[in-house]
């Protein structure tokens, strides 16, 4: 991994050079700080670099979208984040944003416009699908052939925004045996992290949500559980560990799979 160094441009650098980016890669807090999610971020950056898109990140100018604050009920903290971010985004004249986090995706796409931030926002599954369909990204599923894969719908991509097909189309390119959980698409079961749950202990109950969901995925005997969200990634990785299946079942973000298929 990381054989050839990649220079990831920031908006500030492009701005200083009198240039702009066609698309902003919004990394998100998990993608920036969480060790597991950082791998997905790197995979995305490699793909963006590989296809030659004129992209950039905000770097240290990016801050939390405010999603967990809003879901916890603190509109003040949310709007403080949102208004600061919008100021930065508008300053750079950002038109299009891609992010690998469905929570950032939902907030940027649906909750920023009313505060003055209007952008075309896509989830990375949608961008990947676009790139594959346009022939800019080739996927030879060779290394994955014969493996079994299932996909866990992120609530904030699926039910919240009605995106069900893009991730499935991307995964289908990998030439694996795709198997669907009973609770999928609009009926998909949450991983347990949304609505600020990620940051607190669960209320008393008889089970953790991620254990319930991982059991459902593992019952299909997949080699890979594909995800499209850093929080689902954490939750399902933990769930697979709970059942001591981490040696045989891997949880991967679809960007990692596409990057691997391209030997990136």
């Amino acid at each position: 991994m990381g054989a050839t160094p990649i220079k990831v441009p920031t908006m500030a650098e492009l701005f200083a050079a009198g240039e702009t980016a066609d698309i902003l890669f919004w990394v998100g807090c998990a993608g920036s700080f969480d060790d597991r999610a950082k791998k997905v971020t790197k995979a995305m950056a490699k793909i963006l670099h590989h296809v030659g898109l004129k992209y950039a990140i905000l770097g240290t100018e990016e801050t939390c979208t405010g999603d967990p604050a809003k879901r916890a009920g603190n509109e003040f903290y949310f709007q403080m984040q949102a208004l600061q971010n919008i100021q930065v985004l508008n300053m750079y004249g950002v038109k299009k944003i891609v992010t690998a986090c469905p929570h950032c995706f939902n907030t940027l796409k649906n909750e920023y416009p009313e505060l003055g931030g209007d952008y075309q926002v896509v989830h990375h599954s949608q961008l990947l699908q676009e790139l594959i369909n346009a022939g800019k990204l080739k996927v030879e599923g060779g290394s994955f052939k014969g493996k079994k894969i299932t996909f866990h719908d992120p609530c904030y991509l699926g039910r919240a925004n009605g995106v069900y097909e893009a991730p499935r189309e991307v995964i289908s390119k990998l030439d694996m045996e795709f198997t669907e959980m009973k609770r999928s698409k609009a009926k998909g079961l949450c991983c347990g992290a949304g609505g600020a749950q990620m940051f607190k202990e669960a209320e008393p109950g008889n089970k953790e949500v991620n254990v319930e969901r991982s059991a459902e995925a593992l019952a299909l005997h997949p080699d890979i559980i594909a995800v499209g969200c850093p929080f689902c990634n954490t939750m399902l990785t933990d769930g697979v560990k709970h059942f001591e299946k981490e040696a045989t079942v891997k949880v991967f973000d679809m960007a990692e799979l596409i990057a691997q298929a391209n030997d990136l």
């Binding site: 160094p5 604050a69 603190n74 903290y77 100021q87 505060l115 609530c155 009605g162 600020a196 109950g205």
Partner: protein, 445 residues
């Protein structure tokens, strides 16, 4: 003559009482905050036709969908027969419309309609038995949750037994009518497929008894319908009316989008930049009521949230899909809706008794819905997706959380830590903002 008078009095009193209750419910719903849902008429009508009239979201569970459809269709079609019952009841005639249309093309429509009602009634009868056994014998999990104990379960059974009584009365009325036709007492109708078969059982019963049976069926049917109407406003069965306006006023925005609190925007703008911000939203309305964030009681919710509460069928589809509930947490989105309705009814009764400004010291938050329930929600929208009448329990949960956090400063300590991190580090975890792009440096080596 006397029976006509009794009929008219009972009929009008039932309607008057129903109207009175409807106005009460309307008043209660309008205790809610205003929200403008007037636009997008075309899309709204389409949603209503699909979801309420077409029952599109019921199809997710095929068996109850078909069974419920029989009852729904039987209910709609039977109302046509009510026209003749009304005329007969108030004039003392027997099958007045049939006399008008017999022999004409309309006559065949009459016969077709009555047969159609009979067939649907039998199907509805079967469906009702299935529903009763799902609740009381098979005891499906979603009907056995704690919030269903007591009155809610009774309510469901009362209605189901009521339906059985209604169908039995219709069939008793029509079959003894046919038997009396055979004895030459009543003027014959065209063939009524099902009553004809039942009438065979009545062979040998004397004319006097048959006349009484026919009257019992007739009165039982009309009294049953009027009783059902009077009962509706007290029951989850009120959904048969509210499903229509409630789906008309459905949320048309992406489910993930939470409402924006514009009152907060102006304050935040001031905090961030006292010299005003060119990208900010327009200044808030100066005449707006004093700002309160979130909802502690039902009056702080929108009228749509309150209409949702009265529309809830207590079917538990939301709770059956709720990840928190599935894993044994106290949260049940159905209970959120039932609590909202119970509290609203309580507030309504207080207003009736003590006048408009009475405070009983209670509130929806704390007295009905606990913090533990609220914090168990993952905001996954499974409940919103599952609801057959487009109710949104999540919106109420978020409004109550807003009150907890912004008005009461009550949050689990881990949530406070997360919020402080966001404020201090621009991330929900304790990382330095300077390290945000470290991954990019790692890629560049």
């Amino acid at each position: 003559m006397i029976s006509s008078i009794i009929f008219i009095v009972v009929f009008l009193s039932a309607f008057a009482f129903f109207g009175f209750k409807i106005l009460k419910i309307r008043r209660n719903i309008l205790l809610g905050r205003n929200t403008d849902l007037s636009g997008n008429k075309g899309q709204r009508i389409k949603t209503m036709l699909m979801v309420a009239f077409g029952q599109s979201k019921m199809t997710a569970r095929p068996i109850p969908f078909i069974m419920h459809f029989f009852i729904y269709a039987a209910f709609l079609i039977t109302q046509i027969e009510l026209i003749e019952i009304m005329i007969d009841g108030s004039t003392g005639q027997h099958r007045y419309i049939w006399h008008l249309v017999e022999g004409s093309f309309l006559g065949s429509i009459y016969t077709f309609t009555i047969n159609f009602i009979e067939i649907l009634s039998v199907l509805a009868f079967v469906a009702t038995i299935v529903f009763l056994s799902r609740r009381n014998i098979i005891r499906l999990a979603r009907f056995q949750k704690p919030e269903m104990k007591g009155w809610p379960s009774k309510d469901a059974n009362i209605i189901l037994f009521g339906e059985i009584t209604l169908v039995t009365c219709i069939m008793l009325m029509n079959s003894s009518d046919v038997a009396l036709q055979r004895l030459g007492v009543f003027h014959p109708t065209d063939t009524l497929i099902i009553s004809r078969a039942i009438a065979d059982l009545w062979a040998g019963i004397p004319k006097e008894t048959l006349l009484i049976m026919e009257r019992i069926g007739w009165w039982g049917h009309i009294l049953g319908i009027l009783g059902f109407m009077v009962y509706l406003p007290f029951s989850k069965h009120f959904h048969i009316f509210l499903a229509f306006p409630n789906t008309y006023f459905s949320n048309l925005l992406p489910k993930g989008q939470l409402t924006n609190l514009s009152a907060v925007t102006s304050e935040v703008k001031l905090m961030l930049d006292p010299t005003a911000d060119p990208y900010a939203v327009p200044a808030p309305d100066q005449n707006a009521a004093p700002v309160k964030f979130g909802a502690k009681d039902v009056q702080d919710l929108t009228w749509k949230n309150l209409m949702d509460a009265y529309s809830c069928t207590e079917c538990g589809r939301c709770t059956a899909e709720c990840p928190a509930n599935i894993t044994g947490k106290k949260l049940s989105p159905r209970k959120i809706m039932m609590d909202t309705r119970d509290r609203l009814e309580q507030v309504g009764r207080n207003i009736d008794k003590h006048g408009k400004d009475h405070q009983d010291g209670k509130s929806l938050l704390f007295d009905h819905i606990t913090e533990e329930e609220l914090w168990a929600c993952t905001s996954c929208n499974a409940c919103v997706q599952a609801c057959p009448v487009n109710i949104n329990p999540l919106e109420i949960i978020i409004e109550l959380r807003r009150d907890l956090i912004m008005e009461q400063s009550k949050a689990p300590s881990s949530i406070n830590t997360m919020l402080n991190n966001i404020q201090n580090n621009g991330a929900p975890w304790q990382f330095s903002p300077q390290d945000r792009a470290n991954w990019a440096q790692e890629l560049n080596t």
